[in-house]
């Protein structure tokens, strides 16, 4: 039995970051840079500790904690409560958000050292944590949407944090607008759900699903929600904002654009898993979109030279894999990859941040090299993360990626397995290309690299440890059973998410694993041969094939959007401005405005300040009304 005290703690988890942001707003100017950092760190840290306590004291939140505050509003039959809900799924997400969030706050103190606007930075960061927690802890889709919009806002503010640079604020605008397109989908889905189910609370909607026979509606809701996820989680065709979002400070990229916010789409789909299993058409769309995005982004990533851009495309690609898993019914596999990806991708970004910090702002990997000696901690942790993302056992990425591949094989057969395998190989290739170019070979610039301060190193090391151990939470059955262990993640999620554990025979699973591993190791060896010991500044590769040229220009997607969408929108806007606005509406409105004015001017004449005429007018009106009433 869960005590009510525990449920009150939900509010505590949520309010600490908000309190931190508020406190910094009020006294931030007085406490200095250190003080601001500590306020923000303490807020997130306490939030994390409370979350940990709640999580373990309630047995992984299996029974579902609800904290109802009040009825937010009701309209017609639909009543929207203002309440928060924590179960196996959201409990896990809360731990990821506050845990990784705390580490990134810690890292930021070193990284943002000396920035004049550090107060604004930490306020936004705390506010982001608050909204992200609202998103995952909401008990209904509308409150979730509040968090959804809130994280979008914070992401916008942080991408454009250095808004003096106009490219950066354009990147922020782009992120915001693309997200808005997705948000519209989410909102429409919510409305459709409210219309058909009369409620938006998870607890009311999901039980109704079994009696709901209209698959068309379910598919429509599923697709609309997925459009929302496309925007937030950067999937085709709305993914081009994420690489540009790297304009923000690197810890922000790590927290928002790799570990937490961009996985909100997966959370939404996993949360709605009960609906998706009844709408196979929507799931197919998720699968195809996910795989296409993953493949496209992986190909692009091979040809990028900016350290953060490579990581950004890699994030898009990994998110695509998660959606592919979700789309083939493996909601658990998707969430598992969210968990491990949060650790190793945050670590990669922080490592990249450490490198950029150490090289005083250099981001081009062609101009790096040889950092192995000067930055040993960064080197080692980056290596762990790279191994993890490439899927080398026993690092975390191996288990989650393996689960995704197995799920795809089981649900969709060898072809889809092959595509996903190809994506994994590309991942291993470009990640090791990045790794070798950055840390091996000889230095290719004249900047004096230095290792980062202790706070930043601590964050790196903790994340490295997580990148190793998190995978064991989802130990595959073939290993778990002989050892007498269980798959902890499956236990954790089974009450909240529709689970389908793979039922392949152990032999098939092992064969698949061996194939994957061998291929990955060969790929890494290839990468090492090509980039392992680059000595001099590499010339821009001149003899590019057409495909390579396209890939290095991200398949000209930005240009295509510009021509097809933006230009035409401009044309439409100019057309309506001229014909509809200036010619028709302007005249109508000025005419109605003028007539209102004329009436007003006439009526005002009665108000001449003379009490006598007021009485006359009143008595006249009274007499008329009385006569009407008497003789009607």
């Amino acid at each position: 039995m869960v005590s009510p005290v525990m449920e009150n703690l939900l509010l505590v988890i949520l309010l600490f970051p908000l309190l931190g942001a508020g406190l910094n707003l009020l006294i931030g100017n007085k406490v200095g840079e250190k003080g601001i950092g500590w306020i923000a760190n303490t807020a997130t840290g306490f939030s994390f500790l409370t979350a940990l306590y709640v999580f373990f004291a309630s047995g992984g939140c299996q029974s579902g904690l609800t904290f109802s505050m009040f009825e937010w509003f009701h309209f017609g039959k639909v009543s929207i409560p203002f309440s928060f809900y924590l179960d196996g799924l959201s409990g896990l997400f809360v731990l990821i958000i506050t845990g990784i969030g705390s580490l990134i706050h810690l890292f930021s103190m070193g990284y943002m050292h000396g920035d004049k606007e550090i107060k604004r930075y930490f306020m936004y960061l705390n506010l982001f944590i608050f909204f992200m927690l609202t998103l995952v802890m909401a008990s209904n889709y509308l409150l979730m949407f509040v968090g959804w919009e809130g994280v979008g806002l914070c992401s916008y503010l942080l991408i454009g944090f250095w808004y003096q640079n106009s490219t950066y604020s354009e990147a922020a605008n782009k992120a915001f607008i693309m997200n808005r397109i997705g948000d519209l989908g989410f909102l429409l889905g919510t409305m459709l759900m409210a219309y058909h189910f009369g409620s938006l609370s998870f607890g009311d909607v999901f039980p109704q699903l079994s009696q709901f026979s209209d698959t068309g509606v379910l598919t429509a809701i599923g697709i609309l929600f997925f459009i929302g996820a496309m925007g937030k989680s950067a999937q085709l065709p709305l993914f081009t904002w994420l690489p540009d979002a790297m304009a923000g400070p690197t810890p922000v990229s790590a927290l928002i654009h790799a570990a937490t916010m961009v996985t909100a789409g997966i959370y939404l789909l996993a949360r709605t898993s009960a609906l998706y299993v009844l709408a196979p058409l929507a799931l197919d769309l998720v699968l195809y979109t996910g795989l296409a995005t993953a493949l496209l982004a992986a190909v692009i990533a091979v040809y990028q030279n900016d350290i953060k851009k490579v990581l950004a495309y890699s994030t898009v690609s990994q998110l695509g894999l998660m959606f592919a898993a979700v789309g083939s019914g493996g909601f658990g596999a998707g969430v598992f990859h969210v968990l491990t990806h949060a650790a190793f991708k945050a670590l990669l970004f922080l490592g990249a941040g450490s490198v950029i910090h150490g090289l005083h702002g250099e981001q081009d990997i062609l101009k790096m090299g040889g950092l192995k000696k000067s930055m040993p901690v960064t080197y080692l942790t980056f290596l762990i993360a790279t191994l993890a993302i490439s899927g080398i056992p026993p690092f975390a990425g191996f288990f989650s990626k393996d689960l995704i591949l197995v799920t795809l094989y089981e649900a969709r057969g060898p072809l889809f397995f092959g595509i996903a395998l190809l994506i994994s190989l590309l991942t291993a290739f470009y990640m090791f290309r990045l790794f070798f170019l950055t840390f091996h070979g000889s230095p290719r610039n004249d900047k004096l690299a230095h290792e980062s301060p202790a706070g930043m190193k601590t964050a790196l090391i903790v994340l490295a440890v997580l990148s190793v151990v998190l995978g064991f939470l989802g130990l595959p059955h073939i290993f778990a059973h002989p050892l007498g262990l269980s798959n902890l993640l499956e236990e954790q999620l089974k009450t909240a998410v529709v689970m389908s554990a793979p039922h392949l025979s152990a032999t098939t699973e092992i064969v698949l694993m061996v194939i994957t591993l061998t291929a990955v190791v060969i790929t890494i060896a290839l990468s090492k041969r090509k980039y392992g010991s680059v000595q001099s500044l590499m010339a821009e590769e001149t003899r590019l094939t057409t495909l390579e040229k396209w890939a290095s220009h991200k398949f000209y997607l930005d240009e295509i959007y510009e021509t097809v969408v933006t230009k035409n929108m401009d044309r439409l806007a100019r057309f309506t401005q001229h014909w509809a606005d200036e010619l028709i509406f302007h005249n109508i409105s000025s005419l109605s405005g003028r007539s209102v004015r004329e009436v007003g001017l006439v009526m005002r004449k009665i108000q001449n300040g003379n009490v006598g005429s007021y009485f006359t007018a009143m008595v006249l009106a009274m007499s008329l009304i009385l006569i009407y009433f008497i003789f009607q």
Binding site: F70, F73, G593, V596, G600, A621
Partner: protein, 462 residues
């Protein structure tokens, strides 16, 4: 009727305080008394208690409205009380305000027409004095005199109407009247005459067309603190007492008089806002906008019942708060004492003091009904109530009126944000912490009410 006694007691104390030598603590006592009133409401909250030989009943409706009006009064004293506290006649003002509150409480809880009339008079007479309280100011004197003349006229009409009603039914008691109405007895023609006259008297106090003529002149001349008290609280008292009359006598509907009320409501919303659109004096402008809002609130009387009561309660709170905020800013901006005020005085206010500009915008946008501020739900509840009862005329009039109102509300905002201040004004309009606190409090309350509208509207459950 603890509230009646508390306000009456404070009024009496204030009158003798000068003689007995505790005049210094009187304004504190007034504030404390208001808070005690609010607290005392919770003693009997939700119970029906009759007073004065069944002439007044403390029920859910009166309790909810007394609660909100006392809260508004508290907000008002913290916002405007300071200025009054510095006046040499402050204790006289306190006595007058207390007595007018006594009248207000009576108008919210009467079940007998005698009590209604008494309440109206006790409310009005102190107001005549308060409007003219700036004694050496010709405009203030003029408006006091106009208000008194027309107020006396309205009191006469009300008394005349009550007399007709008594003649037709043989009783002053609303329950008796309601029994007669329900048993299907046909009323003689002079019952209708009495009803129509009573409606006229209510309409005068609410300032709806065609009984609105006093409002702009009186609002303009009265000191700001009195204007806002009249515009917010007195309007609430008048409309709530009209609501109560129809609720008790006709059992939650306006009956055959709804045609008349709909006409007055619709014309007020249209005409009030249209004339408002050509005003240049901010105080007169807000008076006309108040006529439009009174038309909006009158919808609640027409719809009546549970829905109407909830909508009216919410609307009155939000409108009062928005008005407080707007007049608070007005009071800081229109500091030249020559009565030639214009919207031009707001030019470049954002540059002179962003707090004032922001607060004014919040107040005006709330009155215009822009989400997420409270005014949005206020209008929405009213329109929804009218819609479910099929009064489509009211909806069209309300929408068109709001549209026209948008025009002059935005005129302020354009002046504040996109014009430069005149060269001869003081660029640094300073505020102290107290001012900022008051404005911040009201602004945030408006936002909270807009986000959680059920906080207020759920106070009445019949």
């Amino acid at each position: 009727m603890l509230q009646l006694m508390i306000f009456g007691g404070i009024g009496l104390l204030a009158m003798v305080s000068e003689v007995l030598g505790f005049s210094r603590i009187m304004s504190l006592l007034f504030r404390v008394g208001t808070l005690v009133c609010i607290a005392s409401l919770f003693i009997n909250y939700g119970l029906d208690i009759t007073w004065f030989g069944n002439m007044m009943v403390e029920d859910r409706f009166s309790q909810a409205f007394i609660l909100t009006t006392c809260l508004m009064l508290a907000t008002w004293t913290f916002g405007f009380g300071r200025k009054i506290g510095e006046d040499e006649f402050r204790n006289d003002y306190i006595a007058l305000f207390s007595f007018s509150m006594v009248g207000g409480v009576m108008m919210l809880s009467y079940t007998n027409l005698v009590m209604l009339f008494l309440g109206l008079e006790i409310l009005s007479i102190p107001l005549y004095v308060l409007v003219g309280s700036s004694k050496r100011n010709l405009k203030s004197n003029e408006s006091a005199f106009k208000y008194f003349l027309m107020g006396a006229f309205a009191s006469g009409i009300m008394l005349f109407g009550i007399a007709f009603l008594y003649g037709a039914t043989g009783t002053f008691d609303l329950h008796q009247m309601s029994l007669q109405a329900q048993t299907g007895g046909t009323f003689p023609i002079f019952f209708h005459v009495g009803m129509v006259l009573l409606i006229f008297a209510f309409a005068f106090k609410m300032a709806v067309v065609p009984f609105h003529f006093w409002a702009p002149d009186v609002y303009e001349g009265a000191p700001n603190a009195m204007t806002v008290y009249m515009a917010a609280l007195v309007k609430t008292f008048a409309i709530a007492s009209a609501f109560r009359f129809f609720f008790l006598v006709f059992g939650g509907e306006a009956g055959i008089y709804s045609t008349l009320l709909i006409g007055m409501s619709a014309v007020s919303m249209l005409l009030g806002n249209i004339i408002g659109a050509v005003q240049d004096n901010p105080k007169r402008l807000l008076a006309y906008s108040g006529v439009g809002h009174a038309g909006f609130m009158l919808m609640a009387v027409i719809v009546n019942g549970q829905v109407g009561a909830n909508a009216l309660l919410y609307y009155s709170v939000v409108y009062s708060l928005s008005l407080f905020l707007a007049f608070f800013v007005l009071d800081k901006v229109l500091i030249h004492d020559d009565f030639y005020w214009s919207i031009g005085d707001f030019k470049g206010l954002a540059k002179r003091n962003p707090w004032l500009a922001m607060s004014m915008s919040v107040a005006l946008l709330s009155m215009a009904g822009i989400p997420p501020l409270g005014g949005f739900y206020a209008k929405l509840f009213m329109l929804k109530a009218a819609f479910t009862n099929g009064h489509y005329v009211l909806i069209w009039a309300g929408l068109i009126g709001s549209l026209v109102a948008m025009y002059y509300y935005l005129k302020f905002i354009i002046n504040m944000y996109s014009r430069n201040p005149d060269s001869d004004v003081d660029l640094n309009l300073t505020l102290n912490y107290w001012d900022k606190l008051v404005m911040g409090f009201i602004g945030i309350t408006l936002l909270i009410l807009g986000l959680f509208p059920d906080l207020v509207s759920a106070l009445i459950r019949f």
